[in-house]
Point group: C2
Chain length 448, copies 2
């Protein structure tokens, strides 16, 4: 069995930790047994690995998430990036063709699941049951049903056609409903309906056959080049609702969406993360501080406080699910990004009255990682090496650099750097336009 993990989403419900480029599944906040922390996506991948149910994990995602995935999961997973965002059906189609091209049999069970679910071991046992039911041809599609804890209006529902499961623990499905109103949700519970958990199992050939209806391109590379030939439609509409037979296997263990500050704070390993000082009378307050400067709380109660290079949030816990709407007015560039080579953090930026700008960043490269050979049309960069050793290339000349060395890189000059150890650079950008997009990437062979 092979797993396709869907890693989408971006947004500001967990601002200032999440933003347009840093989705919630990448926040390294969840407690691990060894006292460390991990992100939601790291947790799910670890749980899959520990359950031993899958031969491989393929993550289907957008280009913008490639860097954080490589940084957090390195070579534990394969990654399939959509050239543009076109909803879940095209994403799953592309990942399926990738698996086919890797030599996966058309009969192989594939399980698609979200990467940002906070759940327990039993969830992965149900996934294994779903794969077995797929192998046994119980139905074209097997879905996971989440046993409802309340008549929630936040989820779609699956209504079973029987009250007794078959030998594989599966129930035939009678119908699906969209997110209901409360009255309708209460009615659905009397019909033993369950929440749709967004987990789907099918044979690989089943999906590749559907793709053929839309596209002449049946290799991964070809479909990726002609990605727009696929309709912009969700897997639920395109596949689930059209399937001839659908079954559901229920899961009733811990299953949470840590998508709001209030929900996330319940899972934090401690009430205070980072440099935090509290008066003894602080109550029911969670603080996550990613800045280097201290947060001091005196006499406060029932707050969520979070600070990152993007900004500072102070919210009453009960109101914290409205954060997204209030931060929508903030339209600044990302101030922290995880990259395949490490991460950067913006330390300061200024726009001068004549439109000239400056931006100061800390760049942290992991040993052996490199920033690709590149040039910028509209900015100079000054790099001061403050820690570590590296190979620096400027206009095709390569030199070894270390602490105290300075590179004065003018607009138009080609440059690259490869870290030989952990490497920290202070980068001062200066120019008329300072955006990540002002970049021309060039080839460079470090092994030459």
């Amino acid at each position: 069995m092979k797993i396709i993990l869907l890693s989408g989403g971006s947004g500001k419900r967990l601002w200032p930790l999440s933003n347009d480029v840093r989705s919630k599944q990448f926040l390294r906040l969840l407690p691990m047994a060894d006292g460390g922390t991990e992100s939601m996506i790291q947790r799910v991948v670890r749980q899959i690995r520990e359950s031993g149910i899958a031969d491989s994990i393929t993550i289907a995602t957008g280009e913008s998430q490639l860097d954080p995935i490589q940084s957090q999961l390195s070579n534990e997973v394969s990654v399939v990036t959509e050239p543009c965002r076109r909803d879940t059906f095209p994403a799953i189609a592309l990942a399926s063709l990738y698996l086919k091209d890797q030599g996966t049999s058309p009969d192989e069970p594939i399980v698609v699941m979200p990467c940002d679910v906070f759940t327990e071991e039993g969830y992965f046992s149900v996934i294994q049951k779903m794969a077995k039911a797929t192998e046994a041809n119980v139905a074209e599609l097997i879905l996971m049903g989440i046993t409802p804890s309340s008549p929630s209006t936040k989820y779609g529902y699956i209504v079973p056609a029987s009250t007794e499961p078959d030998a594989f623990g599966a129930y035939p499905v009678s119908r699906f409903t969209e997110k209901p109103d409360t009255e309708h949700a209460i009615e659905l519970l009397t019909e033993n309906a369950v929440w749709n958990g967004g987990v789907f199992a099918f044979r690989l050939g089943y999906l590749t056959d559907i793709v053929k209806q839309y596209s002449d391109f049946d290799s991964y590379e070809a479909l990726r080049r002609h990605f727009e030939s696929l309709p912009k439609i969700s897997f639920d509409y395109e596949v689930v609702e059209k399937a001839k037979s659908v079954a559901m296997i229920p899961f009733s263990g811990e299953w949470k969406d840590l998508g709001t500050w209030d929900a996330l704070s319940e899972q934090l390993p401690k009430e205070y993360t980072g440099y935090v000082v509290n008066s003894p009378d602080v109550r029911h307050t969670h603080v996550v501080n990613e800045l280097d400067i201290p947060i001091v709380c005196v006499g406060v109660d029932n707050l969520i406080i979070s600070a990152s290079p993007d900004g500072i949030l102070i919210a009453d816990k009960e109101s914290s699910d409205t954060v997204k709407e209030h931060v929508s007015v903030i339209n600044s560039r990302p101030m922290f990004e995880e990259r395949r080579w490490g991460f950067y953090k913006v330390l300061g930026h200024t726009e001068y009255p004549d439109g000239h700008r400056s931006l100061t960043k800390l760049l942290h490269l992991n040993p052996g990682c490199a920033i690709s050979y590149q040039l910028h049309a509209r900015r100079d960069e000054v790099w001061t090496i403050v820690d570590g050793e590296a190979l620096l290339v400027i206009d095709d000349k390569i030199i070894k650099v270390g602490r105290g060395d300075v590179a004065d890189i003018k607009a138009g000059q080609r440059h690259a750097i490869k870290a030989l150890t952990h490497l920290e650079i202070i980068e001062v950008q200066s120019g008329s336009e300072l955006v990540e997009e002002d970049i021309t990437r060039l080839p460079w062979d470090w092994d030459e």
Copy 2:
């Protein structure tokens, strides 16, 4: 009449805006008629100037406050700096000898007052009356009494010897008491006692005669060199309690100590200063944000929130007078300082496992201002000019620099810079020890 303003204090009751080098009197937060803001010391100096009562203002202060005073008041005042802190009597003695050396007559009335009082016009009319009573020899010393609004235990009290003032509005003083307990304070009010406002008037010769009892050095420069010859004692103990005759003139107008966040917030021109976003249901909350990143408040009530490069405070208003005790555990270098040439702000700093450090600063120089010729023993500095034009000196060579220019200054290299326009520099320090004290100042004549 001449005024001596005492500018002392440092501390963390208004942290993170105030710190060991940035006393509360320098916070530019108070509203001005033109819509701008001014600091407490700027407000007091402006009020003295507008009242027209004084020929000159001399500020007695410590070395560390010279830079912010010059930056905020430029040439409106004279400044006398104590070579070390030795309490109020030595400070006033030094300022008095300075006035004597400037040619002030021994008969000239001198009024000593604090620089951080938040008060109104009438206060300065009382000061004028005090000077007139001094001229008329009503007593050796005239004090200002503040009409009490409550039996406060925060102030010393002055008990008058009569219930009727003389022709100058002065009451003879019967005795002084230290800060009383509440019971004693209630008793004092029945005796028509007033708070001691820390404002003293005397003839210049009266004080210089007292200084002679301690020191053979009767010029300003000589006394400054032998400052330790004066006893470490307050003006109250050394002068007020020993005076043969003391009178008091009362003041009953607005008079406040803006020394806590709760008191200060009542005087702020608006509830939100800086980059602040609030949900509509935020109530009774004051936010002062000196950072470039946004503070977002959602659903909070009755808070003081303040952020500066030193840190972030979130305090319940009622608890905000305890801020000082909770921040006492924070022992970091100042992250913002006003300097005679402008200001600096720390953007980031790191200590590496081997003890090496890096520190990145934004330096802002005002036009015509210069950073003195200097060298550092234990750090390199890389300067990137991000705005403006300047004259740069390195090892006695002077060149003109502007945007995009980079100076790579190694430990031991002599360097200075003079701003020809507003100038911004990103400075990256790197070395084994990064403290303001690692500096050797050298002479350099810009007019050569």
